[in-house]
Symmetry: C2
Subunit: 451 residues, 2 copies
Amino acid sequence: MKKKANPGRSMLRHVLVVSIALNVSFILRIMLYETHQHQQQTHHHHQSSFSLSSSSSSSSSTRTTRRRSSSSIVVNSTRDEDHLHSPDKDRLINLDHGDPRMYERYWRKRGEKASITIPGWQSMSYFSEGEKICWFMESELAEEVVRLHNLVGNAVTQGRHIVVGTGSSQLFLAALYALSPTTHQQPPITVLSALPYYSSYPSMTDYQKSGLYKWGGDAESYDGEKDGPYIELVTSPNNPDGYTRESVVKNKTHGFFIHDLAYYWPQYTPISYPSDHDLSLFTLSKSTGHAATRIGWALVKDPAVAKKMTKFIELNTIGVSKDSQLRAAKILKAVSDSSEEEEFFKYSYEVMSQRWKQLREAVQGNALFTLPNFSPGFCTFFNRQTHPQPAFLWLKCEGEIEDCASFLRQHKILSRSGERFGVSPKYVRISMVDTHENFMEFIERLSSIHL
Amino acid sequence: MKKKANPGRSMLRHVLVVSIALNVSFILRIMLYETHQHQQQTHHHHQSSFSLSSSSSSSSSTRTTRRRSSSSIVVNSTRDEDHLHSPDKDRLINLDHGDPRMYERYWRKRGEKASITIPGWQSMSYFSEGEKICWFMESELAEEVVRLHNLVGNAVTQGRHIVVGTGSSQLFLAALYALSPTTHQQPPITVLSALPYYSSYPSMTDYQKSGLYKWGGDAESYDGEKDGPYIELVTSPNNPDGYTRESVVKNKTHGFFIHDLAYYWPQYTPISYPSDHDLSLFTLSKSTGHAATRIGWALVKDPAVAKKMTKFIELNTIGVSKDSQLRAAKILKAVSDSSEEEEFFKYSYEVMSQRWKQLREAVQGNALFTLPNFSPGFCTFFNRQTHPQPAFLWLKCEGEIEDCASFLRQHKILSRSGERFGVSPKYVRISMVDTHENFMEFIERLSSIHL
């Protein structure tokens, strides 16, 4: 059974009890399972429950031992992963979606600091206060967005209008709408992205059969001069492959650009400079893991574009859930407010780092699989060199395996085929941000695959 | 300043204090301002704070007295209406939108029972549990929707699939998408509604320039046989005029129907029978007043249509805010759970009844204005005859006033012109569900307009 929000004081008391229980459990876990990995991580000054829990079972053998030796920790970890049924070998591990359930552990540890209470009479009106283009945006969300970007250093916020959306998906559609030609005679503008591109871009662009814009495929083969006006989607780090990207269309005179920066956060990639584009998109789903809150935001230079995006959202959904906006503000605030010990990005970086390490170990020497190779870069946020460790693994099956997704499916791993991203089915995309249990099971299965 | 949600125990303590303070204030108000209207209302067995507060200032003179005599009540009423500035005669009363702020008083009185607390680690995953077509819908919301419809008797829920949306706007678009022809060769299907129709229908249908559907205007002049396939929007009670409606297109063989039942609730109209359509839309905004929560739901007979609507929402916003779904479930539960004394629909019916009475008194004998005339009907929910008392006033300016909206604008009343609803500018739509202060100010201004 999944735990749902229950209000009132009894709930709060319950939360307190669970929180204390969890703390006790984490301390126990630290005492029992401190592994050599952590002694090696010299950059961690504070060995707290925050920096340790994610790697409490750093190899499958440790994990099996743990499962046998201490029932309290097993209970803890199953409680952590709601969707998990028995750790049956026949269970299909679904890593097709990028469901960011990895982050639940962190937020559980932060406890009440990230909780929100909304009384029945609050946030009822369609309208929000303040003089801004996006009339339905809650000011405190806008403030926390600016604050976090300034703290992380991943985006210039000065001279930008913020538009809030129901996830960055809605903002993507709003941006297409806003950047499309306004005169009725013009043909639909072409929407492009370099291969491999996010699998949802084509269907999101075309499902309404809009006369304003249409999917045009690979941006690399497009010439702005010859082929006419276009909108290029620049996803950086890229989904699915994790590489840093820039615009690739030749002759950019007639081009508009949407920078999808969902993964431009320190846990995934070195923050080399504050992004500074005309229109960029961010989302709570991939930054803090709150996917179901459906909150994204756009940083927009041109007020006319921000206005048209706002109009789109008005016609599409008459604004964006205030409950979620308030929750998002609270979550972002908790990230910005976190002490060094409980620092969100440090924690997330460590978990990702651990996972990528385990992954590389699992396929090392296995000629069946090729992983992407990333160059390290200086991260201004951590003030040191870091490695890209994307939210997705872009895996290539080598040799005679032509359909990598089907091959992995035989091993009960559900991935998304390269074909969905416009390239060869020898590639698959695999989520690296699922629950700890699912990730460990995935590593175990991957390790066992040999020719 | 608008009050925002603050979490944690200190907030809860604060809520408790405010709640107690409000209760004291309401009791005071009852003692001081019980008016003759309430002694006349013989059907009210319980003279509680719930049945009295809405009409505590039943005429503008009582209100002025009140404002002078008791500062505590002035504080209370300004706290109640956040957007209210000074009751300056030059202030523009904005009744253009149907912002349902009238309901805030009720929910304030219900206090914590309708509050929700969401811990930081809950509701993170995109997915919801249970085997249902709408994969992102929270089960407890679906349960409360069914429970409330069964209690109110306004919709058949058996044999229906529920699809949750970001307000009913998104569901409207999802329904257009789902009912449109699937083969690529077919021209866009025509979307119709009888005059006067909801002002947003044309722009919502056409803003994407979709090749799937296009706005066709008045349903009365359409012939299904001659003019081809169509989708008819049947809004009942109708927005803007409040009348009960049925499909009007001639020769319905090739027709699809979307029943927009946003206002089919006992406070607005007699519930004569449970609606029983292929596809009907409801929304929290107009039923409980929680507009900013952006939750609507569709009751859909055909699983294939429910599936396509779900797909639309997936491509549009990848689901619907879980925070808002959980809050909506809590709010609907509070409505269903309410005791006779605090009964939501009884309270809302009384407020609406009071408002329509005051409105009719204000224009009585004034040849400038004509109001719609409704026939009473038997309401199965209240088990007696009730009168329609719509959420909007559909006002006609008589004589030489050709542009009613401009005329009212001179008297600092902002309304929406009949032209927006496809008819003459001699008509305007005016919200009847705004704050008490705004409504009273509107009545005062309307009363003072004479030739």
